[in-house]
């Protein structure tokens, strides 16, 4: 076994329950958590598990590909930036690495309200990879091992938990075994991945990489339901062959806004940032695509060629993945193409919006008829990938599979697209794989607490039939789940419940939260008449007609008013809150949304109450004695909701079905209580004593 680096903390972690079990294979190395895959989900998962204090092994084909940005050279955006802030709030890596590797930082949606500001940056691929590898190799308790994983080691399941077996380790390409308390699969598009370029197709996870076949077979044998998705990537262009002088230039922000709560500033000097350029498609592009489609239809009819082009071009995803689908679905239109730099010293330009699967010579034709790209050199053609993904409804909200105990899935394998979506799942899978090994309850983020919660709830409750991507429109409580307050929402919980947050970050987030609460209390307590306010803050168009008193927080809602302005008007006691710029800015945002967040609080409570009503994991919906229609039973069975809240989000579930389930939950709870009573006086077995332990912990008795 080739261990690249292995570090231990001064104190070894406490002995864990699973290690006490007698193992027949005493020589094989043992780990608490084994992560398969070193992409965005894998790195976050491995680092999160290690941060929470368990010994973690990351297994990857090629250690050199750790932290590789396989597709676009950018991170963040609207919704995705929110995910990154939340990953950062849980002490995840990608936000910090981006602050050390970006070449063009830009906040999107600046004029649309701070709840939807989208932090985004063009990232230097090489720097990102270097920085990520440095981070991973320097993470205590985390070890990297270069190997392929061929199979899973399985054993009898733990009783009283759902699952036909449990994973106890992995078998590597050389046949050696590695034991593990939990295993996380983050193999991206490698499950039966097929790459399409023009009429050619060959199996691969990404261009130049091998697909995982052994694992795919094992998962299939275990009975995992899989679906097939497709994605694509554009051709790459040589920077020095593009005429930028005729194109629209887009400058980066000055000063750049960092992603991480811990970063004071990003690494690059504002003036050293690179620019992006915009160009447009035209009728000629459309013509070429149409002509070649015809050709390919013909090819398919004569059954000679693979279905590559046709299959890739017919859009099954609503979100247009390729230039072909854009042209087909929205004909006679001009489409935008963004020319994005891939790095400071890179000659590669990534033409975002130009994903194509045409034969390379046709791709070159398309490129040559676009303004600014007339002489552009194609360094690598665009291609499409088809791959298997695992139906995420087979996972619980902790991302552990219900079929195989202790086996977690994260990232693209769960049907998502995007680095940020992968990273978000990685953090949650990593934390929970660690907690599972330590016998602690899972760490779940609710829809009311974060975009991560929405992402995982959508996936595990509703599943997906296209690559799932984060949008702010998916989020019910968008006004409270903002990028500015991700630390208040998650850092404290991450520290206290998951142990995945450093002391330093915890202290910083706690201080900030306390300061905001104090400041809001002070702002609310400062109440004057409108006449007095308009004298104090003449900049704001305060109507003097209003008779009631207004608080300083009310006044701060005016677009014209800032904390600085208020502090100038009322230095005591406001000056100290305006001095720290970050605090002042966050207070302003709090003021804008304060009323609305407060009035939405009822609804949030309602969702939380419903989510506190948990359903047993192993419920057999076809067998339970509740008055449910066959249709409802089928829906419940395929979606496997974990809470009454999740039930209510499944389309087609009636209120009556929900009440009948409530009744069932109540019966069940009484039953488990009965069992519990009958066990009193006996020593309880270690770990999870009762099959329905979750059920007992659930706050069915929460209200009252």
């Amino acid at each position: 076994m080739f261990l690249l680096r292995r570090r231990r903390r001064a104190l070894p972690p406490a002995p864990l329950p699973w290690r006490r079990r007698a193992r027949s294979d005493g020589t094989a190395p043992r780990w608490d958590v084994v992560v398969i895959g070193g992409g965005h989900a894998g790195t976050e998962a491995a680092a999160a598990a290690a941060r929470s204090g368990v010994r973690t092994l990351l297994v990857t084909h090629k250690a050199d590909t750790i932290g590789q940005m396989s597709c676009n050279p950018s991170f963040g955006g609207i919704g995705k930036g929110h995910l990154m802030r939340e990953v950062d709030a849980l002490d995840g890596l990608c936000a910090r690495i981006c602050d050390q590797s970006g070449v063009h930082y830009k906040v999107l949606n600046r004029c649309k309200g701070p709840a939807v500001w989208g932090l985004r940056a063009q990232i230097d691929r090489k720097l990102y990879k270097e920085n990520m590898q440095k981070e991973i190799l320097n993470t205590p308790l985390l070890t990297v091992h270069e190997a392929s994983v061929e199979d899973l080691l399985l054993m009898e399941p733990e009783p009283d938990r759902p699952g036909k077996c449990q994973v106890s380790g992995v078998i590597l390409g050389d046949g050696s075994r590695v034991h593990a308390g939990s295993v996380i699969l983050t193999t991206g598009t490698f499950l039966r991945g097929v790459v399409f370029i023009g009429l050619k197709m060959h199996p691969a996870g990404r261009l130049g990489d091998q697909p995982s076949i052994g694992l795919a077979q094992t998962l299939e044998k275990l009975g995992f339901a899989v679906g097939r998705l497709k994605t694509g990537t554009p051709p790459r262009l040589a920077k020095d062959s593009i005429d930028f002088s005729v194109l629209e230039r887009h400058m980066a922000d000055n000063p750049p806004v960092p992603f991480s709560f811990l970063s004071e500033a990003v690494w690059i000097k504002p003036e050293d940032q690179l620019s992006c350029y915009r160009t447009l498609t035209n009728a000629k592009v459309e013509q070429i695509i149409h002509d070649s489609l015809h050709l390919n239809n013909h090819v398919r009819e004569t059954t000679r060629g693979p279905r590559a082009l046709v299959v890739m071009a017919i859009p099954c995803s609503r979100y247009c993945p390729s230039l072909e689908s854009k042209v087909l679905r929205f004909p006679n239109r001009i489409h935008q193409l963004w020319l994005e730099p891939e790095g400071l010293d890179s000659n590669v330009i990534y033409p975002q919006g130009m994903s194509m699967t045409l034969p390379p010579e046709l791709q070159e034709q398309v490129i040559a008829c676009i303004r600014g790209l007339e002489k552009a050199k194609m360094m690598q053609p665009g291609y499409g990938v088809q791959y298997d993904f695992l139906d995420p409804r087979q996972l619980s909200a902790s991302l552990e599979s219900r079929l195989v105990q202790r086996l977690f899935f994260a990232g693209q394998i769960n049907g998502t697209t995007g680095y940020e979506e992968a990273a978000a799942q990685g953090v949650i899978a990593g934390i929970n794989a660690g907690l599972r090994v330590s016998g602690k309850p899972p760490f779940i983020i609710s829809r009311t607490e974060g975009y991560i919660g929405v992402l995982i709830d959508d996936l595990t409750t509703l599943g997906t039939n296209e690559p799932y991507r984060m949008f702010t429109s998916r989020v019910e409580f968008r006004m409270s789940l903002r990028p500015d307050n991700a630390d208040s929402r998650l850092t404290l919980r991450g520290f206290e419940e998951a142990g995945c947050v450093s002391q330093q970050r915890y202290a910083q987030a706690s201080q900030m939260k306390a300061a905001i609460e104090e400041a809001i209390a002070v702002l609310k307590s400062l109440q004057f008449t409108a006449t007095k306010w308009s004298r104090l803050v003449p900049e704001a168009p305060i109507s003097t007609n209003r008779s009631s008193l207004a608080s300083a927080l009310d006044i701060l809602q005016y677009p014209e008013v800032t904390m600085e302005l208020l502090a100038r008007a009322i230095p005591e006691p406001l000056r100290k809150f305006a001095e720290c710029r970050e605090l002042a800015e966050r207070l302003k945002i709090e003021a804008v949304y304060e009323w609305h967040v407060a009035s939405q609080q009822q609804e949030i409570e309602e969702v939380r109450r419903d989510e506190a009503l948990q359903l047993p994991e192993d419920l057999d919906y076809f067998a339970i004695d509740a008055s449910l229609s066959q249709e409802v039973r089928e829906k419940l069975d395929s979606n496997r909701p974990q809470t009454i809240g999740a039930v209510s989000r499944i389309p087609g579930i009636t209120p009556a079905a929900i009440v009948n389930l409530l009744r069932f939950v109540k019966t069940n709870r009484q039953r488990t209580e009965h069992i519990e009573h009958s066990r009193i006086g006996r020593p309880l077995p270690e770990g999870n004593t009762l099959g329905k332990s979750k059920f007992q912990n659930s706050s069915l008795s929460c209200a009252s």
Binding site: C111, R318, H335, S473, R609, A656, L700
Partner: protein
């Protein structure tokens, strides 16, 4: 971290007038821990007493404002109170009220019960009055049960069967909604729903994609225009007086027939007072005469109409046209014929009826009862022949009576009672005003949110979008929920987004 972007944001925002901000702020209500729900707890249809129940922290305040008394009744003791509409101070009813402070209540929260008279007018009025109070909203199906459950108030046996009850209720609602959706009103609501969903989807698209992808110019301006149109239509709909009248009405029973058949006499007989002028002169009644009464416990608005005949008299002609209009709106038609004027032949009855009833296939017509008046003038034995003839053809239920002697009125009342029971006992057709009261509440809330959208638009697009989301949710209580996925469907249908 989160460094200063406010200055730029401020520059980008339009200055907003104080009035706009005030308008926005006035509509806030301070958030309690949980909202208060209300619903008609007794069943639909026939009932002497209806029970309206509230649950939640604002129950006490609601009871105070409806009874107009600062003092709440003694807990769990029945008190007789006058019940007002707080917004108009109009008395709705005198009824029994009970105050159940939490946690000793059905749901564990503060609850109140109002026992009022069972007519749709009263119940509708009480529900509307409750809906206008801050912090109150109509309960969703099963919500009382859910709260009781969450608060540990329900035993197993109590929950048993409740699911079925709710199922029956929601199934009826679904069928009712379906029935309404097929009608003109349903089509209107459906169209609003589609337009609002599209407006919302376009705002969401603007938030999620306008920076990266090329959305067409003027997306937001189109949304503004769509929202304004919607506001005008909804508020026009809510102000529609005629519908409001019907809402307070009850079952509309219309007396119709040729002149001098004794229609006004029948009205007077049923009302037991001389509500309409009667005379032997044909064409005495020229306008619609209405009277509210209670038949077999069902609220009925009885209308006497002008006798149907061709006439040169301008006033009478208007009366006849009003009569025909009223017939179109009738829930039940009492077709009155003079027994002496018809031959005991099914064909003759059919012809006479056709002259009275509005045109159209029988299935779409309001149910009808054939009343043969002036039985006292018939020769001996002819009455039996007439009734026998009625039994032969496909004729409506018939009764033979005499307004003069009062003979046969009981059989009319029993026929009418059966008809009303059939209509009101069936939730599909019964208590139409209750559904309408609910619609009214949701449409009003929807309209408020649409209004706030404009106020927030220039302040913060997220807040504006939130109002559209709220408006959509209110409308969705009538037309059905729309999921985030369906919104995304519209986004991806209407815009070319994606990389």
């Amino acid at each position: 971290m989160w460094p200063g972007t406010w200055r730029k944001l401020l520059a980008a925002l339009n200055p907003v007038s104080g009035a706009a901000l005030r308008a926005v702020k006035r509509l806030h209500c301070p958030a309690g821990k949980r909202d208060t729900i209300f619903a008609l707890s007794s069943g639909h249809g026939k009932c002497g007493v209806a029970v309206v129940r509230t649950s939640g922290p604002a129950s006490g305040a609601a009871l105070r404002s409806l009874t107009g008394q600062q003092e709440l009744p003694r807990p769990r003791a029945v008190a007789l109170r006058r019940i007002h509409d707080p917004s108009s101070a109009e008395t709705l009813d005198r009824g029994l009220v009970i105050w159940f402070p939490g946690p000793h209540s059905f749901t564990g929260e503060d609850c109140s019960e109002l026992h009022v008279h069972g007519g749709p007018a009263v119940v509708g009025g009480v529900l509307q009055a409750l809906g206008r109070l801050p912090g109150l909203r109509p309960a969703d199906p099963g919500e009382f049960t859910k709260r009781a459950f969450q608060n540990g108030k329900l035993g197993l046996t109590e929950v048993e069967g409740l699911g079925d009850l709710i199922h029956a209720e929601t199934e009826a609602q679904r069928r009712q909604a379906l029935r309404q959706m097929e009608g003109e009103l349903g089509q209107l609501y459906q169209r609003w729903s589609e337009e609002l969903t599209k407006a919302l989807a376009h705002v969401e698209a603007f938030i999620d994609f306008s920076e990266d992808d090329n959305l067409e110019e003027g997306v937001l301006a189109q949304v503004d225009a769509a929202v304004r149109t919607l506001e005008e239509e909804v508020s026009g709909h809510l102000q529609d007086g005629r519908r409001g009248e019907r809402l307070r009405g009850g079952v509309h029973v219309v007396i119709a027939g040729p002149t001098n058949a004794g229609k006004s006499s029948l009205l007077n007989l049923l009302c037991q007072r001389p509500a309409a002028i009667v005379s032997p002169i044909a064409g005495t009644t020229r306008d619609v005469v209405e009277s509210a009464l209670n038949i077999g416990g069902y609220p009925v608005v009885l209308s006497d109409t002008a006798g149907l005949r061709e006439t040169q008299d301008v006033v009478e002609r208007e009366g006849v046209s009003r009569a025909r209009e009223r017939l179109q709106q009738a829930d039940v038609v009492l077709a009155v014929l003079a027994a002496v004027d018809v031959d005991p032949e099914p064909r003759c009855f059919a012809d006479a009826l056709r002259a009275v009833l509005p045109p159209g296939p029988p299935a779409q017509r309001a149910p009808c009862i054939l009343v043969l008046n002036k039985a006292d003038l018939l020769e001996e034995g002819r009455g039996g022949a007439l009734l026998g003839a009625c039994g032969e053809g496909a004729l409506p239920p018939t009764c033979l009576l005499s307004c003069k002697t009062g003979e046969g009125v009981d059989s009319l009342l029993s026929l009418l009672g059966t008809q009303l029971e059939q209509m009101c006992g069936d939730p599909l057709a019964g208590s139409p005003s209750l559904t309408q009261a609910r619609h009214r509440l949701h449409l009003t809330s929807c309209l408020c949110s649409l209004g706030r959208y404009h106020g927030y638009k220039s302040l913060d697009l997220v807040l504006a979008a939130e109002e559209l989301r709220l408006a959509r949710r209110h409308l969705g209580k009538i037309t059905g929920r729309v999921s985030a996925e369906e919104i995304l469907d519209i986004v991806f249908r209407d815009f070319c987004v994606g990389k």
